[in-house]
């Protein structure tokens, strides 16, 4: 539980930044080098590298050297923990609406008697 909590903390916190979300959106289209990724961002390279580091630490991307270029890849299951958590909340919410529905139906049946 504590480990899942840490994964979710990292995943959600990392997604809470527009530069990092844009990097992930670009990588969903295909692998890219650090310079390709940095190009549309008006940002000093060290700051940009800091965002890549955070994405890597959160397990959302991986990177590997190819010759003198570093190529970044979106992790295939990058968003799974976040999506699972959000999906669970929907299930709890829907379960609650179902129970409310049952309650109202029973109430109406009781009154009709």
């Amino acid at each position: 539980m504590a480990k899942l909590d840490l994964t979710l903390d990292l995943c959600f916190a990392t997604l809470g930044d527009p530069t990092r979300r844009r990097i992930l959106q670009r990588l969903a289209r295909g692998d890219a080098s650090v310079s390709e990724l940095a190009e549309p961002h008006d940002m000093a390279l060290p700051s940009f590298m800091g965002h890549l580091k955070k994405l890597e630490e959160a397990g959302l991307i991986t990177s590997a050297k190819q010759g003198r270029t570093r190529i970044c890849t979106l992790s295939p299951d990058a968003f799974l923990p976040a999506k699972s958590w959000l999906g669970e909340q929907d299930e709890i919410w829907e379960g609650r609406l179902d129970r409310l529905d049952d309650y109202v139906t029973n109430l109406m049946n009781e009154r009709a008697k």
Copy 2:
């Protein structure tokens, strides 16, 4: 776009904390007073109130006074921006796999000629 970015920043950053996620999970089951919400958390009340404030600022919950009690409610569309963003990434990713599939099929058809 900038407004959606701010919404997503706030939403994801707010979800990046286990106490806040637990409050949301509790509220998915139904409305609760501040003291009911605080009870399972081993935390000073001012710190706990700080988490509630962040959840309210991010539009994830609302709260209203009922007599001397403050009742918190999960916003029905609380997770919609986060879920939409994650869903978009899946679509981009799947589109990419479809294109790869087309490419391989074409290549094999060309070779078969």
